[in-house]
Amino acid sequence: MEVLYLGLSHKTAPVETRERFAVPDAHLGEFSSLLAQAPGVREAVVISTCNRVEYYAAAEDGAEGLRTVSNFIAEKTGHAPQAPTFLELKSAEGIRHLFRVVSGLESMVIGETEILGQVKKAYQSAQTAGATSRTLNKLFQRAFNVAKEVRTKTSITRGAVSVGSAAVELAEKIFGKLDACNVMVLGAGETAEMTAKALQSRGAKAIFVSNRTYERAVSLAEMLGGRAIHFDQWEREFDAMDILIGSTGAPHAVVTNAKISPLMTRRQDRPLFCIDLAVPRDFEASVNDIEGVYLYDIDALQGIAEQSMQVRRQELVRCEEMIERHVADFSKWLTTPHHGFGGASGMQPEGAK
């Protein structure tokens, strides 16, 4: 039995091409089932995300199986899959590719974990549709174990790799859970909006937006489900804030040491996390010297994101070593004489088609 792969990803195809071959989530099971019933293919799993469309199959004859998959794609999408947009892989190469995909090594942001959930979902759809049997069941179960091992034994998923996620990570290192944290955005820049959204997605209690143009503050506050405040009144609301994001277009510092120091004494030792995303900066650098205040500007946040990315890149070698071990182990299992049909769901004898 051979494991086959035919697919494209963000590495080989632009979004205009990817969207032509994309399969809606609701049809993944059906596509897998139809492919598994095609001549020359025994089992199939179809994965489709915004960054990749991948067909995995198990077949007795690799060359025939790949032809079948290729014809199937052409028939279903109206576009013939062609190299180099589509990649064809067999046996160990196909197995390795799946292990790399679920571990996040093939992702746009190395180490991202969303792909694992997407692959799990696609596999479950295929399994429910009866498109998988012993080989792919074993392969995907092993892939999920590999992903878990890679994630827990290396730092491939660690650290924040964007300004927004770096801000969230820091906020969690200061406050723990964010569900009691109030966030104030000064200005209405795009990065500030994204950062506020990232904080909100991690449970921040409330978002307040203050901008020189009040209408813009209202608009952003509505988008974030928060409250708009007139710019000359933000200091009144300061006591209740835990995270202050600066993103104004002011040519000078809006938040100064002299302004914050007396306000901090009223906060009863609650820490304050200041995120300065503006250029020129909105916060005076000496604000970081105030006890209980932690100030990070755009360079510091980008530095953290880049540092995490570098750590992830360094971890690639360790991840690949782990994956290689599993690829060899699985390939060995695949070629052992006792490997064959039986025991898994959806199995069917060769002559059943």
Partner: protein, 261 residues
Amino acid sequence: MERAFLVTSTLCFLAGFAYAMYALGAKVRQPSRWNFVVMLTGFILQSGFLHLRSGEVGRCPLTSLFERLVFLSWSVVLLYFVVGSTYRLSLLGMFTAPLVFLIQVIAQLLPGASLPAVRKASLGFWPELHNAISLVAYGAFALSCVAGVMYLVQERHLKRHTLNSFFQNLPPIANLAVAVQRMMLAGFALLTAGIVAGFFAGHAAAATIALAVCVWLPYGVLLILRSTHRISSRRIAWLAVAAFTLALSTLGALNAVHMSN
């Protein structure tokens, strides 16, 4: 046999610390599970030592500075198991291990530490309760000191933007501030109970009560200042370290009192 228990437990705490350092350097995630296993083994061996020792001295093994220090390190590890899981302070074990290791090494290097135990008459229920509870309180103060050190390390990382793997593994600074305060409060409550037990003990515990009050008062002041927000988390972390150093010094003073008697 008892000595073997003590030496092995000391090595366990050294191993716990060494592994945690290695895990941090190698960027291994969740070193706490290994810490836990090593700390638990060390704790069982400590308990074995104290059990055998109490059989030999015929009462709670607090008859010398050596025994008191071992009992203190046992209290620290006991409280670590209670508190570590409650606050999910994953690195508390790593910070606790070297402290316990240090205390036990000092205990074993003390003059007279290697002498065989001498059977002594029981002091009675109240004096022994007073001594034991007071030392468990010191254990809580030790953990408050450990959490204080963790707070200061984490604060330094946050202020200087040095976000290394040490930083990644340390708990949030707000949780550490709470842990410092709560461990201090727990120690204070235990020491209060110890002092009350001491009053029931009468003259037998006069010296230890006096020394306990010397520790009880500063911690009381710190807690009042903290609860009224007159002192920052950073300062309370520094003072938790300083106050525990004071508490440790009273153990030496207590030994001097016993020797002079």
